[in-house]
Subunit: 362 residues, 2 copies
């Protein structure tokens, strides 16, 4: 009996057809293992947690076929070199803040937040419906990467100060640990921005080598202990009105994924985004109470300081936009959406919050 | 040659092993078709759109193995009988607002929003991190359903009025089309709540059979044309500070799903939630400008009215909580989270919004 005839006789032809079909099914869910370094130490369990939640969501949605191993900053890639490692294919994906890479091009700033940009909800609105995702991914293509929304901190605090900041004069000569792009604004207001790694900020504040430092918000800040040596805690962090975290994927690796895995990755990132914001809203109030109990003194930046910072930001951005088409395109898109959206947000949303804040204080 | 030997000789044994393995792979991604009726007509493309986005996301993440067909209100199930149809297994899943079913038990209200509850972001925070999802799904179990987060409208508007509402006296005898639970508060303030289907509201307002009507916000309200006959548009909708939409799944169908499909469904729902909020934030400002251009007059409810409504709500909820353990449990959980979260939200978030709203007006 010839093979073909045997198959026909025994009905194994059908099984063989099954065997041929099997790889087609398997191909739609191939076993894939990726590595995802982060910019965060494990101790920042909101930020690092968002990366873990994203990886876990991908595994759950694919029956563990698509596995992403998460690494803390420095384990396999330095915390501030995530985009580089993704771009050159050292790793497939990385979880970071886009604005750490503004030195390559200031357009990277919009992937996290820029001073006086949208708040958390509107940032997410811009990304999802306002053209933000498309505008930024057109830009990220130059770096052979694709950005996926994968976390959100909400509006951050304006930092810890050894002395009160009552007027613009108090900013003159102020040495402050502050993120790169915001540092440029501080500089225009007479301050002296400092780049200091997390672990070195506390001793510098204690010794008076620096006068102030900003980090994130109550829950993350509490761990670094700044309230003990620089008790004046200002809000709002006008340079981070709603900071997104992104997972950058190597574009070749992205394009090689089955469409279903691309969809799973994007949805898992969105879930991590929601989870991260919720985590902060759950933990920040508790940390804030502890900080106040430990002697932190709350202040709000004066209108004079806010206005000077706003003016300096608009001037800086207009200047950069002149020579950088990518920056101009993304900035116009983000600020158009933001201006538009706040016209609605100020109405029901803001008046509701206004009432609730007063009612629940009682 | 015997079959076993033939297989061995030709190497088809391996292929057969593949054929045996195939069903195991296929089983983790079985072909499933579900039907999802909604409470929304297709014309409400934000709400109906959220259901469509959820279904599309599920299909994409499963390589079209898990398909959910979306139906508008009334196509296969009446718009306000979604939970019933899911509970009795007529359909596997349905997209609706939980508070439509408060007649069964007022605890259903918390699955959408209750007066003076959390705003959109904090509602999502409560659901995800504050125990909301667990508390509500313990309750929904009684109805053989599981609720998945699947949409969000943001804070709604406070409705359209033929005459200005300056004081509590103006609410006395006011006939208003308003959702069920909020209607109870209006009633305590002297108003006369009316239940009228969407299509009948406009003629009732025009004829003066009713004095006022609330719906959602600018984008949805515009379609119904209320501004032409009741031009006074009030904010905020204190009875809907941030309304969630849920997809209810029949609990037996849920439990029979592979774990991976459960994860896909939940993540798709979260994506629909983000999408829906973003859609509103994109479309509402444009609609608001058109409404203002067409003669709508914006007002904010007076502090006197807000305070009376707040007091009436707290009294009503305390009364219901006495006799309804589910209501008490979910209400305590939601309000603890809300009170806590607003203590943080008022700080950076609110002061940032406050500045941005003024700056962008200029």
């Amino acid at each position: 009996m010839k093979r073909r005839e045997f198959l026909k006789a025994t009905g194994l032809g059908a099984a063989a057809a099954g065997a041929i079909a099997a790889p087609a099914i398997a191909q739609s869910m191939p076993a894939i293992k990726w590595r995802m370094p982060c910019s965060w130490p494990k101790s920042l369990d909101t930020l690092y947690g968002a990366a873990e939640v994203m990886a876990k969501s991908v595994a759950e949605a694919t029956d563990n076929k698509f596995q992403i191993q998460v690494f803390a900053a420095g384990e396999i890639v330095p915390g501030l070199a995530i985009v580089d490692a993704v771009q050159n294919g050292t790793v497939e994906i990385g979880h970071t803040a886009s604005y750490y890479y503004f030195g390559k091009d200031p357009t990277f700033g919009f992937g996290t937040s820029v001073p006086f940009g949208p708040n958390a909800r509107l940032n997410q609105g811009w990304w999802t419906q306002g053209g933000g995702e498309a505008a930024l991914n057109e830009f990220y293509k130059k770096y052979n990467t694709r950005g996926l929304l994968a976390g959100q901190t909400g509006c951050q605090m304006g930092g810890w100060y050894r002395k009160e900041i009552k007027s613009l004069d108090d900013l003159k000569g102020l040495k402050m640990r502050i993120g790169g792009w915001a540092g440029k604004i501080l500089q225009q207001l007479g301050g002296v921005p400092q780049q200091i790694a997390a672990g070195d900020i506390y001793p510098a504040l204690e010794k008076g080598t620096i006068d102030a430092a900003e980090w994130v918000g109550p829950y993350d800040d509490e761990k670094l202990g700044f309230y003990k040596v620089a008790p004046h805690y200002y809000s709002p962090g006008w340079w981070e009105g709603g900071s997104m975290l992104l997972a950058f994927v190597n574009l070749d690796k992205w394009n090689a994924l089955p469409k279903s895995y691309q969809a799973v990755l994007e949805q898992a990132g969105h879930y991590a985004n929601t989870w991260c914001m919720a985590k902060y809203d759950h933990l920040n109030p508790q940390a804030l109470r502890r900080l106040l109990g430990a002697g932190a003194k709350l202040h709000v930046f004066s209108p004079q300081i806010m206005e000077a910072a706003y003016k300096a930001t608009m001037e800086l951005h207009a200047g950069v936009a002149k020579d950088n088409a990518s920056f101009k395109k993304v900035n116009d898109s983000m600020m158009d959406f933001t201006k538009n959206a706040y016209q609605w947000f100020q109405l029901a949303e803001y008046s509701y919050d206004n009432y609730m804040i007063r009612a629940l204080r009682g």
